[in-house]
Subunit: 370 residues, 2 copies
């Protein structure tokens, strides 16, 4: 194998595929990045068997071939190369790959390409396209609500439900639920899958094109792939039945409160300085006389209390929540004002932006003895 | 105790004294910050018995008094307060301190001030003044050369040697030595003390005044204090005899090499990507034919090699070093060029800036089998 390419493109490609290199690989070969040079293209691949990433870049290929390099050292070395171009030549006898850039020269030990589980394109049963900015918005507004508890896999992923032109993404850890709706331009069909949150987080990080472009999504039994620019990402899906989240959303509320997002958010952050050190991180909200008093009490530290103006339509109410579940949603709301809607101190409440009917967040209160 | 002050000044003072609050306090009271209000000043104090810091700020004191608060929560709370001013009132019966700022109110549990080991000014045997920018330069150019090995305390500190108008700071871990000289305006006397590197690092972080100003240094048996602006820092000294470092500095060298600092530094950093994962982090320097070839070889990863132009006066030479000891000094040299001076592959070498006779760095080579 012998090729040359720009350092910038190689660094970009290595940074992308590196996300699929496991820190604790099941087999040594999975700690590596696979390189394949042919037809004036270099293909880089990495996989941990859950997530696989392919990234292609242009190169001047003098001799085709494939090789596997330790991902960690390859990334470190490529990033620090001094020149604008990089020349790479393999030495089969010494099992090394020579990387030359200006006056710097590295000979990295290589692994045989034949041992690498080369990624294959999915044999898709359903395919559709979605704008990357829309897909990123679906992820960003829901993925934080997933559970981290691997014992219940369904809650570690987001439901993606496509029904003709309607796309819904939903996530829940059973204590809170986040649902975001968007629309597709042209697709007729039905998809209902659960995508691991880890993959969605990586996708949101990789999809940073300045100009909105299309992502092609292919689904097959148990797998999904995402294709955009020069990147191909393949992932397993989570098996099982996502809970019927629509049943959790209360049809109406007895009390509807309007709050300024930033004011309420800053006050909740301050009061939770006192609550967050305890396991339950409980804050109490007292809605009364056109204000909400946010308070917390930690016997080891002290008390905090802050009042914020509120427009209250309905009954006064005293209710307690896990502060993190409140701050998480407030960080994801861009509107100046929010609606906080409640029924009783023990029934699910809703927090949503004033100007966006497509975003729903349901939060279960905490029962307190006070 | 009752007072009000600006949030900005209070945050500044808490951030400074916080550095003396131990994470693993010997006694619960040492996890706290002591506050004393009188004469329209607030004094904040913290100590871990090795390092003590006092910071004073102006305040509108309505009722004098003293109290101790948990350092960690006090810092978190003060930083996030919403208003420009802060009002603080203690409640003796409840053992709490009420902090009010705009609509936010915190009641933090307090500890009795009587239990706090209040810091006392040193009874100095010698005192002198030094410009903070000069003192910071002395620290920055030497403290990195200290050892972290607490088993040999002398090498965990910097020697400060004042002899009339000459000030020298020196540090060594026995494998390398860094010495920086400066001059005092008016002082006649002699001081020879070893200051813990931890305190010097904290000092360098705290002394960030935009306009150069004087620091007053007071020494007493076993202790040192630093006074500047509204800050008073007191520390123990390290006891023992600092090695006679001047004997380590070779009087002359057989080979003198001139190198471009940035070029050499970048090449050493790249080559050490390969060496740094092994325990010894060894790079080899081959000075020959107006260039230096920097190389390293790690049987588990591969080889790296890079050549940089050099002006060599004297014999060609092959010599190996711990790469960290080379990069550490290069980071602290501001000059465009350095002198690298050598005798034999096994005798100490010198690296110094071309235009600064007051800075000396001696490094012991590594014996290699190759």
């Amino acid at each position: 194998m012998k090729f040359s390419c720009t350092k910038e493109q190689l660094v970009h490609a290595v940074n992308i595929v590196q996300k699929a290199v496991s820190n604790k690989p099941q087999m040594p070969i999975l700690s590596g990045i696979y390189l394949n040079a042919e037809n004036n293209m270099i293909e880089l691949q990495a996989t941990d068997y859950e997530l696989g990433i392919i990234c292609k870049i242009e190169a001047n290929v003098e001799k085709a071939g494939a090789i596997v390099l330790s991902g960690r050292y390859f990334q470190d070395v490529v990033k620090k190369l001094p020149g604008e171009t990089v020349e790479i030549v393999t030495n089969k006898e010494e099992h090394t790959m020579k990387i030359t850039s200006n006056s710097a020269q590295f000979n990295l030990l290589s692994l045989p390409a034949s041992e690498f589980p080369v990624l294959k394109p999915l044999n898709a049963t359903t395919s559709f396209k979605i704008r990357d900015n829309i897909f990123r918005e679906l992820i960003k507004k829901t993925v934080f609500a997933c559970s981290a508890d691997e014992a219940r896999p369904i809650f570690t992923g987001c439901l993606l439900n496509v029904n003709n032109s309607d796309v819904v993404m939903a996530a829940t850890n059973t204590h809170r639920l986040s649902v975001k709706k968007e629309y597709l331009d042209d697709f007729t069909g039905n998809v209902k899958i659960i995508i691991p949150s880890k993959i969605l987080n990586e996708l949101a990080r990789i999809m940073v094109a300045e100009v909105p472009s299309d992502i092609r999504i292919d689904c097959a039994y148990g797998q999904i792939s995402f294709t955009f620019d020069n990147v191909y990402i393949i992932s397993r899906l989570i098996e099982g039945q996502f809970p019927d989240y629509e049943r959790v959303i209360p049809p109406d509320f007895a009390t509807n409160i309007t709050l300024n997002t930033d004011e309420f958010s800053a006050a909740v952050e301050r009061v939770s300085l006192i609550s967050r050190v305890s396991d339950y991180n409980i804050i109490r909200l007292t809605f009364k006389e056109n204000s909400v008093v946010i308070s917390s009490n930690n016997p080891d530290i002290g008390k905090a209390e802050e009042s914020v103006p509120a427009i209250i339509e309905g009954n006064d109410l005293d209710i307690s929540f896990n502060a993190k579940y409140v701050t998480d949603i407030l960080k994801n709301i861009d509107s100046e004002k929010i609606y906080f809607s409640l029924n009783t101190p023990l029934s699910p409440a809703s927090i949503k932006p004033c100007d966006d009917e497509t975003y729903t967040y349901i939060i279960t209160p905490v029962r307190t003895t006070a």
